[in-house]
């Protein structure tokens, strides 16, 4: 819950109000990453709280502990996926997808009575993996430094008289105010003695 809800912060009465919204700085890939992050939280909580149900549905009865561990992994990858460091979260989701597929492939064995469920789950994970790959590629592309060309600003001193001629220029008419002084000298600290 946002802190603003619990503290009852409200905008002041006279402040400007939105009449019409403009386009957002959020890109499509940002929104996809955000959706995948929330999906991770939902799946992770389900795996943590109902590993037995998932294991029975997929014919993986002996792997409740592993499913619970995967739940923790999903939550751990959700955090960066929902943060500004989305590529890290999406990369960890892709690695997780590979683990999920490997585990599900063991449920596709001919003797598994829940093989059909496992096949559906396998297909769903492949679909989510594709979404993760697309989101990862687009987020990396849109958040990188590669756009445009790298410029050199070595002609921008900001000191019209040049750095060397500017050194100490302010000392002609500026002293550090007394309340900002951090340094003194022994001469300042030792009281003058009478001659």
């Amino acid at each position: 819950m946002p802190i603003t809800n619990t503290t009852q912060i409200a905008r002041s009465k006279g402040d400007p109000r939105i009449v019409r919204k403009g386009p957002s700085s959020l890109t499509g890939s940002d929104r996809l990453a955000r959706a995948l992050g929330w999906f991770s939280i939902g799946l992770g909580l389900t795996e943590l709280m109902a590993p037995g149900f998932i294991a029975r549905t997929l014919g993986l009865e002996s792997k409740e502990g592993l499913i619970r561990a995967y739940g923790a992994r999903e939550l751990a990858s959700a955090v960066p996926t929902l943060s500004v460091d989305k590529p890290v979260g999406l990369a960890s989701r892709i690695a997780g997808d590979v683990l999920d597929l490997a585990t599900l492939s063991s449920a596709l064995r001919p003797g598994n009575a829940k093989r059909d469920n496992a096949a559906i789950a396998f297909a769903l994970v492949i679909g989510v993996t594709l979404l993760d790959l697309v989101a990862f590629a687009e987020v990396k592309a849109s958040h990188g430094r590669e756009r445009g060309t790298q410029r050199d600003y070595s002609d921008r001193s900001g000191l019209p008289r040049g750095p060397q001629a500017s050194r100490g220029l302010a000392r002609r008419d500026f002293d550090t105010p007394p309340d900002y002084r951090a340094e003194g000298s022994v001469a300042d600290a030792v009281p003058a003695t009478a001659p």
Binding site: I3, I9, P16, R17, S25, H143, G158, L159
Partner: protein
């Protein structure tokens, strides 16, 4: 009017909003001619600062022309005046304002009860920032209501471009204060962490104040090239050891003065494991800030030296080496800039051609391109260092 509006994490939009109105006799309405995106706006963009509301107007670096004045402000302002608006709102009358501590004004935070709870005691109202500092609508807009306008403005003359004057609103006095509160003396070696816009202004201020050697630390080549243009020695922390280089450059003694122009969002780097841990803790809200720079400054600083913090921190920071700080006898100075304390002097230095702050502008675009430029600035794409917006 058009304005850049915060809708949530990474979600800024150029919306149509209602025009601001005079609400108090001390108010004025400014028609914005130029404004800018500040590094601390990125903390809001990343939702690292609490108590923002969807619908809040961004921006605290702006200037323009007075178009309406409340009755009580008419002695100081009139229609047509050209003004730069400081990011701090000050009454000019309270004890803190009288002492020159304008960013600590006791009266202008209209949500002072929130400030009291968050900080222990309220600080000044700020434009385009959290509701902990009043939640005042900001200046990335076509018009701005300026509360306490009789004391919250810097009159500037005609005949000087906006580009040279705009940064009196924040980054120039902020960089200046970073250098002044370090008590730079002629002959000092000053190390500046972070070569963003504030770091660049700090470097120029340190030169004007007579620092003998300035060492600029960053990892982006374009920012290091801009620092070197002012005569700074540069350290790229991705390819060099900061501590080893600082010791080399200071005969093993360390810099006299260390300035943090980075703040809450230190770069996360595989070669610096503490930054990885800080980022992980920040993601799960076990820590608000990533104070790698602060740790490094404390370690690198010469005993008896000064640590000046001007980069914005937002809340709780872990593993600050107080033992090193205490045993080395370091002095810490920090604050949001007390903008009007320095601006008369800095305006004179601009007029006198001692400094031209326009050097830092790398992108100049229409206000409606603001949402895209927030992303460009955040990603450091296209060698972006400072974005100026024209409403």
């Amino acid at each position: 009017m058009r304005a850049l509006v915060w809708h949530g994490k990474e979600d800024i939009r150029c919306d149509s909003v209602t025009d601001p109105q005079i609400e108090d006799d001390r108010d004025a309405i400014i028609k914005i001619t130029s404004c800018a995106i500040c590094g601390s706006d990125l903390h809001l963009f990343h939702n690292l600062i609490p108590a923002m509301l969807p619908g809040d107007i961004m921006g605290h670096e702006s200037m323009g022309e007075v178009v309406e004045v409340g009755a009580a402000a008419k002695a100081k302002l009139k229609k047509g005046d050209r003004v730069v608006i400081p990011f701090t709102i000050q009454c000019g009358e309270c004890e803190q304002c009288q002492r020159g501590n304008f960013s600590l004004c006791q009266r202008t935070n209209r949500k002072g009860n929130l400030g009291d709870k968050a900080f222990g005691h309220r600080t000044a109202g700020l434009f385009g920032y959290t509701h902990l500092t009043g939640g005042y609508p900001g200046g990335q807009a076509e018009y701005l209501r300026v509360p306490f306008a009789d004391t919250t403005h810097i009159k500037v003359p005609d005949g000087i471009d906006d580009e040279k004057l705009l940064f009196l609103s924040d980054i120039l006095p902020t960089g200046w204060q970073a250098a002044v509160q370090a008590d730079i003396q002629p002959g000092d070696t000053v190390a500046v962490w972070g070569c963003g816009p504030v770091g660049q202004m700090t470097i120029r201020s340190a030169i004007l104040l007579g620092a003998e050697q300035i060492i600029a630390i960053d990892h982006l080549p374009e920012r290091l090239s801009m620092a070197a243009a002012a005569g700074a020695v540069t350290i790229n922390f991705e390819t060099e050891s900061v501590i080893e280089r600082l010791n080399e450059l200071t005969g093993g003694e360390g810099p006299h003065k260390c300035i943090d122009a980075v703040g809450s969002e230190s770069h996360v780097n595989m070669g610096q494991p503490d930054t990885l841990l800080d980022r992980a803790k920040q993601m799960v809200m076990l820590e608000n800030d990533r104070p790698h720079v602060l740790r490094e400054m404390i370690y690198a600083c010469r005993p008896g030296g000064v640590i000046s913090i001007i980069g914005v921190y937002t809340g709780l920071a872990d593993k600050i080496p107080m033992g090193q700080s205490m045993n080395k006898g370091l002095t810490f100075r920090m604050a949001q800039a007390h903008v009007p304390r320095w601006t008369d002097d800095l305006l004179r230095r601009i007029e006198d051609d001692q400094i031209d702050p326009s050097f830092v502008i790398t992108h100049k675009v229409d206000l409606s391109d603001g949402p895209e430029m927030y992303r460009t600035f955040r990603d450091k794409a296209d060698s972006c260092i400072k974005v100026m917006l024209k409403p």
